[in-house]
Symmetry: C2
Subunit: 250 residues, 2 copies
């Protein structure tokens, strides 16, 4: 009996699917707790929601728990965070009845995880294409793809699908890039998430014609080895894209 849960009760936990773009590939952060026997499995960052002791102490909010889990990984405290789905199948955790509220977090490029082996906690980025095979593309996941704890592979899959879908009708792609960014940066987010190239001229017109998606900064990026320097932008105030930026052949 390795679990800390109490039989007969329900433990509410939070798990965070933290996505970013690393080297042009959509990647998810996984952690591993080396202390435990079951620690050979990689898992999503997260943990139990503090329920509160009595009426004076109402306990912790779900989103606060999610953000704390995000901070504990050492990569960031800010960034886009939204609720994904709740997983409550009775058999999903063999040790206890655990209901997990999953969150989806999106962050700009390249934060390096804390505790790369220290503290008995390991954390690293995994390209999602190594974890969830895409239809027709991947043989059967990467050969060194890790086994995920519990139903965390399903949660990752749902998070990635949500992110891919939301790129179509929300300005969420801008959450993946640092400000200021170029339209090519933004385009590469779509290309990495959807796995297909987009036509740069048409992408530019689409984005600029959507009010509030991006705001020009009025400066140009430093050119890097040939090519005209690109204009710089920051995130706009829009919360939805009308009309949506549809991926083709869905």
């Amino acid at each position: 009996m390795t679990g800390s849960g109490s039989a007969g009760g329900t433990v509410v936990t939070v798990d965070v699917v933290l996505l970013t773009l690393r080297a042009g590939r959509l990647s998810v952060l996984l952690t591993r707790d080396d202390d435990r026997v079951r620690g050979s499995d990689w898992r999503l960052p997260g943990g139990p929601v503090r329920p509160g002791e009595d009426l004076e102490d109402p306990g912790e909010d779900l989103e606060d728990t999610a953000r704390a889990a995000l901070e504990a990984t050492g990569v960031a405290a800010a960034g886009h965070l939204e609720q994904l789905r709740t997983y409550g199948h009775p058999g999903r955790d063999p040790d206890r009845r655990a209901v997990s509220v999953a969150y989806l977090a999106l962050l700009p490029n390249l934060p390096r995880p804390r505790g790369d082996g220290r503290d008995g906690v390991a954390a690293r980025w995994w390209p999602v294409e190594d974890l969830i095979p895409r239809p027709g593309n991947d043989p059967a996941g990467s050969p060194d793809a890790p086994a995920l704890a519990l139903d965390h592979d399903e949660i990752v899959g749902d998070g990635v699908e949500r992110a891919r879908a939301k790129l179509e009708y929300s300005p969420l792609a801008a959450a993946f890039v640092d400000e200021p960014f170029t339209l090519a940066d933004l385009r590469r987010v779509y290309e990495a998430a959807w796995g297909a190239p987009l036509d740069p001229p048409n992408f530019r017109r689409k984005v600029l014609s959507t009010a509030g998606f991006v705001v020009p900064v009025g400066a140009r990026a430093a050119p890097r080895g040939g090519g005209r320097p690109a204009e710089l932008y920051r995130r706009g105030e829009a919360t939805a894209l009308h009309p949506p930026l549809l991926r083709r052949t869905v």
Copy 2:
């Protein structure tokens, strides 16, 4: 201390936003428990998730709990059911720490709720436009709009918004009508949900050009007081609409 929850623990509950079309108006089912002091508030059907006693009894699945709550209202056991969102703010229930997994259910026309006062349980349909004021349209909800328990007004609002949005890119409208149905029946679902008329000829073309949305039955409806009888259809196999059926001026 009227609650049945235990201080120091967390109770996981399920609440169901059950929507249907009644007299051309999008309506939600609310219940009232007359036994309790707090019973003056109307609330969504639902209840606690059975956690399970031990390892032999793993407890009840969230979706099973939602469907049981749906059955308990006496309107139906079948129909579309999907997870909506989870509400876990510490102060949402003053009596206990309650995390509620909300579900969205869609049903065809006109089921009559069981227990219209008997069993100490009342249930009735409320037009959603009386509960949640639409921008610019309603003054401030209906004069006899009920106060909803806890954060159930927020949950109803989220459920209605989800339903309205999903009509655009999913064949979910067909869940609101009994089979077989006419295209006018289907069009009235959109008109009721979006509060705006649609052009019948264009709507017809849109629906019929979307593969798998509806399937012709090969019969005509009985005419009712003038007008050409309409062709009948049943639900198709499609799970998404490409391209979407967008509401205008969003």
